[in-house]
């Protein structure tokens, strides 16, 4: 907490009569920073913003430029702090320019017209938000996105050192989202204090300098965006499963929601399927089986293998090994145990060299009825053979021993569902 910060709240409490929604929040916002407030629905992020803007009463200490906000006159507050609402009623047909000009009202005398300077600032704001062509249009004739840009233009023309935005881009299309958020970030760069409530976490990650995460009216995380929004934190606060990756151009974190999860892991009801794959052959298959509700596990996977990345993201248990080396004996032992525990084993045909040949030997020792081979249509075993014929004949031997072989995922599904195999041992998994 810094005494120089333009906005400072301490033990801030706010709500709407019936109860507190913001409960004892202490935070401050720094000049030149674009801070995002994030949190699940009903967490109190908009309430916090409205409490800072003084339109709802609050308890605790709230200071603007080191002075308690309660000492500000409405006009002083209007000159110090701008607010962009998410939406606003449009009961009358004002023109866009008339609405933007309202930003200058508090500075103008009742007895005079608005000045040339007022108009110049408004035209500039219209220009920066790209709506100059709409200036004489009735606000009732605007789309939601155009209206949102008018509200942003109005706050720009208000020319305040602090700008608060409540989901400023919720009605905008992709191009305008980027345009407006870049504009807002530039405002921060030019020395303003900008605070925005975000529903879209990825937008917050891409544009904010700092994120404040709110849950149940309390701040639960505060810091650099990529450090605040970890998959663990998102699961804890939002109850959502995500994985993170990074923006190829900016390097900033991106969250990707996971709809396919290994939800069946550890459950008794769903058949346990072990997928033996490698060299990227099994990634899609792992996702496919997870989506279809199987308790999936994976075999031995090199940590550089894309199959390994998929297994990790989907939280599928597997046996990681170093790439380009002989598979260690303990990994093979582990694979044997997994194979015994699984109800069914799907062998996704993959390149086999001397390094991973022992895996095929283990499979040859399994009961053929529990095995399914997935060989993509139009491919032959020989094209996966890097052992001068040994692997190809091992694959072929599995087929002649009575293992079902299919070329499609639906084929795998049909085999898995049509003929439930009998496990050698009863399951030892604990749910």
């Amino acid at each position: 907490m810094n005494g120089q910060d333009p906005v400072r709240a301490q033990d801030l409490v706010a709500g709407y009569g019936t109860g507190e929604i913001v409960k004892s929040v202490s935070c401050s916002f720094t000049k030149g920073t674009f801070t995002g407030i994030i949190g699940p629905n009903g967490s109190g992020k908009t309430t916090l913003l409205r409490a800072i803007s003084r339109v709802i009463p609050s308890g605790g200490i709230l200071e603007l430029d080191g002075r308690p906000v309660s000492g500000y006159t409405p006009a002083e507050l209007g000159a110090a702090l701008g607010f962009v609402p998410q939406d606003e009623d449009r009961p009358f047909s004002y023109t866009v320019l008339q609405v933007v000009l309202m930003s200058r009202y508090a500075r103008a005398s009742r007895f005079a017209s608005l000045s040339r300077d007022d108009y110049a600032r408004c035209y500039h704001a219209l220009d920066r938000t790209g709506i100059t062509h709409l200036k004489d249009r009735s606000i009732r004739a605007l789309s939601g996105g155009e209206w949102q840009r008018v509200l942003i233009a109005r706050a720009l023309a208000q020319d305040t050192p602090v700008i608060l935005l409540d989901e400023p881009t919720s009605h905008l299309d992709l191009a305008h989202q980027a345009g407006i958020l870049t504009l807002v970030r530039d405002l921060a760069r030019s020395g303003r204090t900008v605070v925005g409530v975000f529903h879209d976490l990825n937008l917050a990650l891409q544009y904010c300098d700092r994120l404040l995460m709110i849950q149940g009216g309390h701040i639960v995380a505060d810091g650099v965006p990529g450090e605040v929004l970890t998959p663990e934190k998102v699961r804890e606060v939002y109850g959502a499963e995500v994985i993170t990756t990074s923006h190829p151009a900016t390097g900033r974190t991106i969250l990707v929601p996971l709809d396919t999860r290994n939800t069946g892991a550890g459950s008794f009801e769903k058949p346990k399927v072990l997928v033996i794959s490698g060299g990227g052959s099994g990634g899609d298959l792992l996702r496919f089986l997870c989506r279809n509700g199987y308790a999936v596990s994976a075999g031995i996977l090199a940590t550089t293998d894309s199959d390994y990345a998929v297994a990790k993201a989907l939280e599928i248990p597997c046996i990681p090994v170093l790439p380009f080396s002989q598979i260690p004996a303990h990994a093979l032992e582990k694979l044997k145990r997994l194979a015994v525990q699984a109800d069914r084993i799907v062998l996704s045909v993959h390149p086999v060299g001397t390094g991973n040949y022992p895996v095929l030997e283990i499979l040859q020792g399994m009961e053929p009825g529990r095995l399914v081979i997935h060989l993509p249509d139009g491919r032959e075993f020989s094209s996966y053979d890097f052992t001068r014929g040994k692997a190809a004949s091992a694959y072929a031997a599995l087929c002649t021993a009575g293992v079902s072989c299919t070329g499609t995922y639906d084929g795998i599904l049909a085999i898995l569902e049509g003929n439930p195999g009998t496990p050698l041992e009863s399951s030892v998994n604990i749910p």
Binding site: P57, P85, F92, A106, Q158
Partner: protein
């Protein structure tokens, strides 16, 4: 709006012409120069006060209507929305029933102001209140007062006719004093509302918006309500509760000039005055002095519908 200046100028000329022409028009005939015996009394003693009273009452209702619509962000709001007319009706009915018709204007004024005060007190009790709550309290108080008026009508006996006529509104008893009173209220209150024009613009997008734009929304709200109440109570005490002028005039003005209240307020003053003078002249000249409220609605409603139909929009 480039149209503003020509339209306002046109309205000023139309208002002057309306006042002059209507003063020389009536059931006794028309004429600027008349030497008939009693003409001077009819024109100066009866018609002129009546025309002036009608003009200023119409102006008061229209400007209060414009302010209420902006304040409540509701194009259906009219100047009576917080119970002024039912309060005035109650006051007038009490005077008619209990005092045999003495002090009707005074009682109407007291009733109108009392209605607003009741709304204000109830609203003030609940601390910070929204405009919507205020509106609902106003409607509730309005219905309550109307119920008492209905009761008085039911037990009034031979005074029923008098109460009903008062409820429909008219200028039968207009005197120069009425005209002066209406002017004395309209001039300061009209100027006040004009000066609040920008505040009204901001308030018409919402009180929070107004506050974010640096406007003292609470003070602006009560100032506008106070000014409007004085205007409407004055109008009600002079002419009863004349409907439609206060609801429709602001719409007509906005259709012509847009919704900027710095323009709507002065234009509504002129247009409301013109409309009510014309309606009253029609009423007394061709319709045997029917209550003017009948004329305003009878002619105003089709005209309004035609306007909506032509413009395809209301606000």
């Amino acid at each position: 709006m480039t149209r503003t200046i020509p339209v306002i100028t046109g309205l000023i000329i139309a208002a002057a012409l309306t006042i002059i022409v209507c003063t020389f028009t009536g059931p006794a005939g028309f004429g600027f120069v008349t030497t008939a015996p009693g003409a001077a009394d009819i024109v100066g003693g009866i018609r002129l006060p009546r025309v002036l009273a009608a003009f200023f009452v119409g102006a008061s209702l229209a400007v209060a209507g414009a302010a209420m619509q902006a304040l409540f962000r509701n194009p259906m709001a009219d100047p009576y929305i917080l119970g002024t007319s039912s309060g005035g009706a109650l006051g007038a009915s009490l005077a008619i029933v209990l005092l045999g018709g003495l002090f009707v204007p005074l009682f109407a004024w007291i009733g109108a102001v009392a209605a607003i005060l009741v709304v204000w007190l109830i609203a003030g009790r609940s601390g910070v209140i929204s405009t919507e709550t205020l509106l609902l309290i106003g409607i509730a108080v309005s219905f309550f007062f109307s119920a008492i008026v209905s009761f008085l009508i039911a037990v009034a006996g031979q005074n029923v006719h008098q109460i009903l006529f008062w409820l429909m509104g008219g200028f039968w008893n207009a005197s120069m004093d009425n005209a002066v009173l209406a002017t004395a209220i309209l001039v300061p209150a009209g100027i006040l509302l004009f000066l609040m024009g920008r505040d009204l613009n901001a308030l018409s997008l919402g009180e929070e918006t107004a506050a974010h734009l640096g406007i003292d929304a609470t003070r602006a709200r009560w100032t506008v309500l106070g000014g409007s109440t004085l205007l409407v109570a004055g109008a009600v005490s002079i002419a009863g509760s004349i409907g439609f002028v206060g609801l429709v005039t602001p719409h007509i003005v906005r259709m012509l000039l847009g919704p900027d209240n710095r323009v709507v307020i002065p234009a509504a003053i002129l247009a409301g005055g013109i409309l009510l003078v014309l309606s009253d002249t029609l009423a007394r000249t061709f319709f045997a002095d029917l209550p003017v409220g009948i004329i305003t609605a009878f002619i105003g409603a089709p005209f309004f519908i035609w306007l909506i139909y032509r413009r395809g929009s209301v606000a």
